[in-house]
């Protein structure tokens, strides 16, 4: 990396952010390749953030046709009907996203990412999957972990006015500044499967209730073979039943996963734009930290709930 300078154009465009994270981080960003799959509102916010930040390339994956639903929290889909006919969400979004920063390459990956070979993931430095099923999260995470190269893996989910980020950086080396000194740090991450397999009774006492609620709904959608967000208020009784079973199996009190919270998560709209902006912003910052190797990354879950306004980091399985 040494000796390569940012161009005059890059220095002018990125002036304000270079003052935050430095030239070296900016250089690393410009060489990074990001895959984003599942273009819901949160993923769209994230894409905007990293394209503005000046990553090398972004590959978008979402074969859904543009429907009313896809429009809800998406500011990348123009309303002029003509342009969107016969195109997928990823194709339309890539066209808009390219305009944000001509120095970033934006492309489209078609097909089901979770069915891709391990080699497919080798060309990326960061893989983000948004609103994926339990099984698909597992599969993509495992494939990324099979590579010798460290691919940073993230999942993001939004339900009603709540959001969750999961982070797997495997072994991550980074520097951080403490007072005026630069410290070298190294941390180890558990996989998604390892994290969610931790018996609930051995989790930290004051863990965010959102962690449990998200696991219950995720499991429900898995056993019912539903897609993410397809659970509705009509399923409440069945979801509560599964909650009770899981609590008993894990020997934790049902009060850890309140009825009211589960009800809210499945009854509300699937996306709340302010929460998409917040989760997409936090995720953007995390990916910038991971690529630049600067600053403490989140380990390994982040939760935000608009109802209490807290944005909390939870470390599940702190010693994998």
């Amino acid at each position: 990396m040494k000796g390569e300078e940012l161009t005059e154009q890059e220095t002018a465009l990125y002036d304000r952010q270079i003052r935050v994270w430095g030239v070296d981080a900016q250089r690393r960003l410009s060489k990074s390749h990001i895959l984003v799959s599942g273009l819901r509102g949160t993923a769209i916010e994230f894409c905007k953030n990293i394209v503005l930040a000046g990553v090398g390339s972004v590959a978008l994956n979402d074969d859904r046709p543009v429907t009313e639903e896809a429009l809800t929290a998406n500011f990348l889909i123009p309303s002029d009907g003509e342009r969107v006919v016969g195109k997928s969400v990823a194709e339309i979004c890539s066209e808009s996203l390219k305009d944000f920063n001509p120095m970033v390459r934006v492309s489209v990956e078609k097909g089901d990412i979770s069915c891709q070979s391990v080699d497919f993931f080798d060309k990326f430095d960061v893989v983000v999957v948004c609103c994926y099923s339990l099984a698909a999260k597992r599969m993509v995470n495992e494939k990324c972990r099979k590579l010798s190269k460290h691919v940073a893996f993230y999942t993001v989910d939004c339900r009603d006015s709540c959001g969750e980020i999961f982070v797997d950086l495997r072994n991550h080396a980074y520097t951080k500044k403490k007072l005026d000194e630069t410290m070298e740090c190294q941390i180890h991450y558990p996989s998604f499967e390892e994290s969610i397999s931790v018996p609930w009774s051995s989790l930290p006492k004051r863990l965010s209730k959102l962690y449990f609620a998200m696991r219950v709904i995720e499991r429900f959608e898995d056993v019912e073979n539903r897609r993410h967000g397809e659970t509705t208020i009509a399923d409440l009784a069945d979801v509560l039943k599964l909650r009770t079973e899981l609590c008993q199996a894990n020997s934790v009190n049902e009060s850890q996963v309140p009825d009211s919270l589960l009800e809210r998560l499945i009854a509300g709209p699937s996306e709340f734009p302010p929460v998409c902006a917040i989760i997409g912003g936090i995720l953007g910052q995390e990916v910038i930290k991971a690529i630049s190797g600067k600053g403490d990354p989140i380990k390994n879950f982040f939760f935000f709930d608009a109802a209490d306004g807290k944005g909390v980091i939870e470390d599940i399985l702190s010693n994998p």
């Binding site: 935050v20 500044k177 005026d180 917040i278």
Partner: protein, 649 residues
């Protein structure tokens, strides 16, 4: 629970929002409001789009540079939400058209502003119009959102805002110890002296003048002599400011008793005769009509603004830049002021600051760093703005639902505090001592078509508010002012204004107008809402006007600084050398304090200068930290301690 599950759209429907600022936070906010279902949004921003905005103000493109932010932002959002109504104003929020009546039409006001002045102005208007305000600010990875609802939570001004950072003049002129001191010297003294108005006195002038006369030449060394060769002139200035002046300073042994002695630097010591004669390749300089693109770096073949130049390189840049000013931009010399977007100005200031830093054993800095310090450039990233905008919308929806118990102020942190990156804190009650919100705003009932400005000044401002040197403003328009530093023209205008009927003033005062009256000496400022009334009872209301909402207590409370003035002060407060140029300057400074309920809260500040939070300490060098707020030089705190503050020109 009901409130949380209720679709937010029911609270948003039919509601009218005012956004102030279409910059970093503003772009994100407008997008999130539109996606969230807001359908009637008004947006005020006086700025036009610049290249350095494009990395985060994502509604703007290269082709929009130079256009109105408010208008371009509107068009961009309408592309994905064409059915909503967005009303842009390419104007200053302080313009008189945005009066209380204007503010009253909105259900909530959302601020994405970049300066204290405008924030205070909006705070006062929101209080006067009784419209809730959601206030915000970001810097780097830090940000905050606060909710201000009259009578329920503290107003924006309940927490006192710290004064801008100041430096003693002698630190700047004689004993710099940090790079910022060298920058202030290069920018506010040397640059002004070389290229600014020659008639403006500044300390460099005084000192140089004294020194010159004692050594036999009385003329101003900064004036280029007739027929003087430009290279010769450059070397003469260089030797004078970096060599001779340092020798002079060294002769005062007392100063250096406990300090490292600086080293005088002369051209001949740094550059060999051949090298100093060697011209930059001026033919290489791009021929351009834009004076802002002339560059000494280009003519000397230095490309990387991140690189720290050697003393030799700085010296060559200094001489080359001086030459370019006099050869390519001669007509501007004499009326230039420093501008962070003026490449040549940044180059000469960087070089001069570095040469001075070399003298004093202070580490040198790159042009990129020097530019940030000299231009008070804020640190800004898109992600923080996006997060803060999301939090603003969440609070705005609570406000529209009148869900008072859920209001929160939220801090966005770089490092987690008690596991939290986003930390909500319950808002505080209005401060009883806040002069802005503790009393009902003043209301003046008056016949605006009959009463004259003189009546208001004499009967209200002087008699009732007890101001002795009042200043009367309507928005940004000054209507009346007293002071011995006014020129004749202004005195004539003001005295003519006194005899004008209120509604016929240059900036007419009518019903709904807010007048600002200030007395700098007393550090007292307040707003008067004007209400037009036709008739007054001659017996019961002999003044022909009625002031309400004023209590004597307010006078004494806000007079606390008046005794501090010793009559010599030219202004009551330190005046920032320049207003901040770009984006969101104000931030939390994160001083943690324990409060009544035993809860911890972070005290928000308007400036990051005074208190250093742990987040910031870990992020930047302490040296850089104090630079982000406007720099003010405090005059004479070493030589003559008269507390006099002065604005350097």
């Amino acid at each position: 629970m009901a409130a949380a599950t209720q679709h937010p759209f029911s609270a948003i429907k039919g509601k009218k929002v005012l956004m102030v600022g279409a910059g970093g936070i503003g772009c994100e906010l407008l997008k999130t409001l539109a996606l969230s279902g807001f359908q009637d949004i008004h947006i005020i921003d006086m700025d036009t789009i610049e290249v350095s905005n494009l990395n985060r103000q994502f509604l703007f493109r290269q082709t929009h540079v130079g256009q109105s932010k408010a208008k371009v932002a509107r068009d961009a959002v309408l592309r994905f939400r064409p059915q909503i109504s967005i009303t842009p104003y390419h104007a200053n929020v302080k313009d008189p058209e945005f009066n209380v009546d204007f503010f009253k039409q909105f259900h909530v006001v959302l601020n994405g502003l970049d300066n204290l002045d405008a924030r205070r102005h909006v705070n006062r208007l929101c209080l006067a119009a009784d419209v809730p305000l959601v206030e915000s600010g970001t810097t780097g990875f830090l940000g905050q959102v606060t909710v201000h609802v009259k009578g329920k939570t503290e107003c924006y001004e309940c927490q006192p805002k710290p004064a801008p950072k100041t430096y003693p003049v002698c630190t700047i002129t004689s004993t710099p110890s940090k790079f910022v001191h060298c920058i202030v010297w290069a920018k506010d003294l040397l640059f002004s002296k070389l290229f600014g108005d020659k008639n403006q006195e500044n300390d460099l002038n005084v000192r140089s003048g004294d020194a010159s006369s004692s050594s036999g030449h009385s003329e101003d060394v900064f004036v280029r002599k007739p027929e003087e060769d430009i290279d010769q002139y450059g070397r003469r200035v260089y030797d004078h400011v970096f060599g001779y002046n340092i020798e002079m300073a060294l002769s005062n042994e007392e100063t250096w008793r406990n300090r490292n002695r600086p080293r005088p630097i002369y051209v001949r010591d740094v550059l060999s005769a051949a090298l100093s004669q060697q011209n930059g390749d001026m033919e290489n300089t791009k021929i351009s009509d834009d004076p802002l693109s002339v560059s000494a770096m280009v003519s000397l073949g230095l490309k990387n603004p991140q690189e720290v130049w050697s003393l030799v390189e700085n010296s060559r840049i200094f001489l080359e830049a001086l030459k370019l000013f006099f050869s390519k931009r001669e007509q501007e010399v004499g009326n230039l002021s420093f501008d962070k977007d003026d490449q040549l100005a940044v180059e000469i200031v960087t070089a001069a600051a570095n040469i001075r830093a070399s003298s004093f054993g202070i580490p040198l800095h790159s042009l990129f760093e020097a530019k940030g310090i000299a231009g008070n450039i804020v640190h800004a990233v898109a992600t923080t703005n996006a997060i803060i905008a999301g939090l603003i919308v969440i609070e705005a929806i609570k406000v529209l639902r009148n869900d008072t118990s859920s209001y929160r102020m939220t801090y966005c942190l770089e490092h987690p505090s008690r596991k939290m990156l986003l930390m909500p804190v319950e808002p505080f009650e209005p401060s009883k001592n806040c002069y802005v919100c503790s009393e009902t705003p003043l209301l003046l009932e008056i016949n605006t078509q009959r009463s004259k400005l003189r009546d208001v000044v004499e009967k209200i401002v002087k008699a009732k508010l007890g101001m002795s040197l009042p200043l009367v403003m309507h928005g940004a328009a000054l209507l009346y002012e007293v002071g011995d530093d006014l020129d004749e023209i202004m005195v004539a205008i003001y005295s003519a204004n006194l005899d004008k009927v209120l509604s016929e003033l240059p900036s007419p005062i009518t019903g709904g107008t807010i007048l600002t009256v200030e007395d700098f000496q007393q550090e007292l400022s307040c707003n008067i809402n004007i209400k037009h009334r036709e008739e007054f009872d001659e017996e019961k209301e002999p003044d022909g006007m009625i002031l309400s909402g004023w209590t004597q207590a307010l006078t004494t409370e806000n007079n606390k600084n008046s005794s501090a003035g010793n009559g010599t002060s030219t202004s009551s407060q330190a005046v920032p050398i320049e207003t901040v140029v770009d984006d969101e300057l104000e931030i939390l400074s994160g001083e943690t304090a324990t409060l009544h309920s035993g809860k911890k809260r972070k005290i928000s500040d308007s400036s990051k200068a005074s208190n250093t939070s742990f987040e910031e300490k870990s992020k930047r060098k302490a040296d850089e930290l104090e630079l982000d707020s406007p720099i003010v030089v405090l005059e004479g705190s070493m030589e003559k301690d008269n507390g006099k503050k002065k604005r350097l020109q």
